[in-house]
Amino acid sequence: MTPEHLESISKHPAFVQLIQRKRRLNGSLTLAMLVAYYGFVLLVAFAPGVLGQSLSGGVTSVGMLVGVLMVLLSFALTGIYMHRANRVIDPLNEVVKQECAR
């Protein structure tokens, strides 16, 4: 591809919109995962007692529930990403490919 061609793609409205959408989606989900995971790690390091509390009077601790929720959250976030990427990002990407690939 020539420099002029690259330049024209990078200024194409569909491409600009694609990049914006992608950045927003990837950025927010990455942030959510990092905050959740390192929040959990810091909780373990600084306040392990919170996680050791009984969940509802029984032996099962709050930490056990939080651990299971972390697993479910990881899966849910990848699911959300896939859903959004398939629904919103891919169609936009197709437009960019069709209009810019030649």
Binding site: L29, Y38, V41, V44, G52, V59
Partner: protein
């Protein structure tokens, strides 16, 4: 000799050799060899990735950690899992759009081929070999115990089968062996967890209550213990596990086996689901074992220790819930797991030699596909021999530090440069090489000076570096070095490299010009 286990294992080996033969007939081009022709579906690749992560070490090791310390085992599992969403959001699709066979393709996309590929190949080989040695030694001991065959034969058997799968069947066989094993391991652990839950009347509260009642640590097993008690170590371990996974060459290579970015995305979605599901089952298995294995005298020797060592609790639990037949099945699965993981490691090491070093550096892209594949097969053989030799050499060494070192090196040598090459226009060849080397040297030095080697292996009184997980420091240093060496680079080459970023960026975001699946 455990004949049930041996016969089940022989059935597995026979079947995988048939798969290898089938794959060999379909492996004609270099693309077939390195990436199974790039035609796997997201589901297949997701299972294979999950298979790479749910290794024998995590199946036996994490259940053993839960058996000993309860909750801490779960912390370990969560660290590995939490890396996957990040891999998906940050690197999976860009990797697929930019690369062809190895992650060095991506790092060297707009940089000078020879120096970048040399350092990447070095990073790949360091990780693959250390990982292989850890697996070989673990495998030898496990197989000795489960099957009653000698350590020497066990290690040689693993080496020979690994070389057979990779040299003849390439990535196609390596992937299918991994998929078959992942399905076997997931079904086996599902059955075990189901039987444990049935034992406790399908009440996790009843299971946890019995575990707390019989465990020496009592209620403490339901809360975080010593593993992450130090904040610096906690964050460092978290970083190492999260980004170490994103720097493992045999995992990164799997992203090139699917047809496009969309399938790469799907792979991670499925892989995260399978890995998460597996770790949830491990909670049941680990805590169930505290009751069903821990209180059963027949699983302990005269001194009261678990027969075969702590890592055997999951195997004993298999016997407890399913009798000798199921014990044989789980033993065979454990062996299969090791084989599948080492095959992937050998393939990634061999591709670094044949694709990065031979085809791109020595022959400067002039080698024919046939030559490249021949070198790759020779490299597999060499790596196999080397791994068996090291496995025998390290038989009675304390190599527990190796698994930590592997992740620290992967997180510090491969990951920072890979991430920067995709996200930062300013990265230059000098920065990439400097960053990798800084990460490599600091990771190794800090592990050696830390408690795992300085105290446990070299028997010094106190560690010179107080933390057992160096990733926080070595990874930061790698990023810092890559940045500093890049911004101070005012050469003509660096200017051109920055100028080529736009083309790379457009391809990485849209997939325009990305390598497709081979058609046949």
């Amino acid at each position: 000799m455990n004949w049930t286990a041996i016969s089940m294992f022989l059935v597995f080996v026979g079947f995988t050799l048939l798969v290898t033969r089938w794959a060999a007939l379909r492996t004609r081009s270099a693309s077939d060899f390195y990436t199974a022709g790039g035609g796997l579906t997201g589901m297949q690749n997701g299972l294979a990735i999950a298979g790479d992560m749910i290794s024998a070490a995590s199946f036996l090791g994490i259940s053993a950690m839960m058996f000993m310390n309860g909750y801490d085992g779960l912390l370990y599992a969560l660290g590995v899992l939490a890396g996957w969403p990040i891999i998906l959001f940050l690197i999976a699709e860009r990797l697929r759009n930019l690369g062809k066979y190895t992650f060095a393709d991506v790092v060297s996309y707009r940089l000078a081929q020879a120096p970048v590929r040399l350092t990447s190949a070095f990073g790949t080989l360091a990780v693959a070999l250390m990982y292989l040695v850890a697996q070989m030694v673990g495998a030898g001991k496990l197989i000795e115990l489960l099957f009653g065959i000698s350590y020497l034969y066990a290690v040689m058997l693993v080496g020979v089968l690994m070389v057979l799968y990779v040299t003849f069947g390439g990535m196609l066989a390596t992937t299918w062996v991994q998929i078959i094993k992942a399905v076997m391991l997931l079904s086996g652990t599902t059955f075990m967890a189901f039987m444990v839950l049935r034992h406790f009347g399908f009440s996790t509260e009843a299971m946890f209550a019995s575990a707390v009642a019989v465990h020496v640590k009592g209620q403490a097993i339901m809360a975080p213990g010593a593993l992450l008690s130090n904040p610096v170590d906690a964050i460092s371990l978290g970083l190492g596990m999260m980004f170490g996974t994103a720097g493992l060459p045999h995992i990164l290579m799997r992203f090139f086996t699917v047809s496009d970015a969309k399938e790469a995305r799907k792979s991670v979605f499925y892989a995260t689901g399978f890995i998460g599901y597996f770790y949830l089952l491990l909670i049941v298995i680990g805590f169930g074992a505290i009751v069903m294995v821990g209180t059963e005298p027949s699983y302990r020797d005269a001194s009261g220790a678990i027969i075969g060592g702590g890592n055997m609790v999951a195997v004993h639990l298999a016997q407890a819930v399913g009798g000798n037949l199921f014990l044989g099945f789980i033993s065979a699965v454990a062996f299969a797991t090791i084989l599948a993981v080492v095959a992937g490691l050998a393939l990634s090491g061999a591709s670094a030699v044949s694709h990065d070093l031979y085809a791109c550096v020595v022959r400067k892209g002039q080698a024919s596909e046939q030559e490249e594949m021949r070198v790759s097969r020779l490299a597999t053989l060499g790596i196999g021999l080397f791994a068996v030799l090291l496995g025998l050499l390290f038989e009675s060494q304390n190599i527990a530090f190796l698994s930590g070192l592997v992740l620290a090196v992967a997180a510090s040598v491969n990951f920072p440069v890979l991430l920067l090459s995709m996200f930062w226009k300013g990265l230059t060849t000098r920065g990439a090489v400097g960053g990798s080397l800084a990460g490599l040297v600091s990771a190794i030095v800090l592990v050696v000076l830390g408690p795992a080697v300085w105290v446990n292996v070299l028997h010094n009184e106190r560690a010179l570096f107080p933390y057992s997980n160096p990733a926080l420091f070595s990874m930061s240093l790698a990023f810092l070095a890559a940045w500093a060496f890049s911004v101070t680079d005012s050469s003509e080459r660096a200017r051109e490299e920055r100028g080529r970023y736009l083309a790379q960026f457009i391809r990485s975001m849209t997939g325009i010009g990305a390598a497709g699946a081979s058609k046949h």
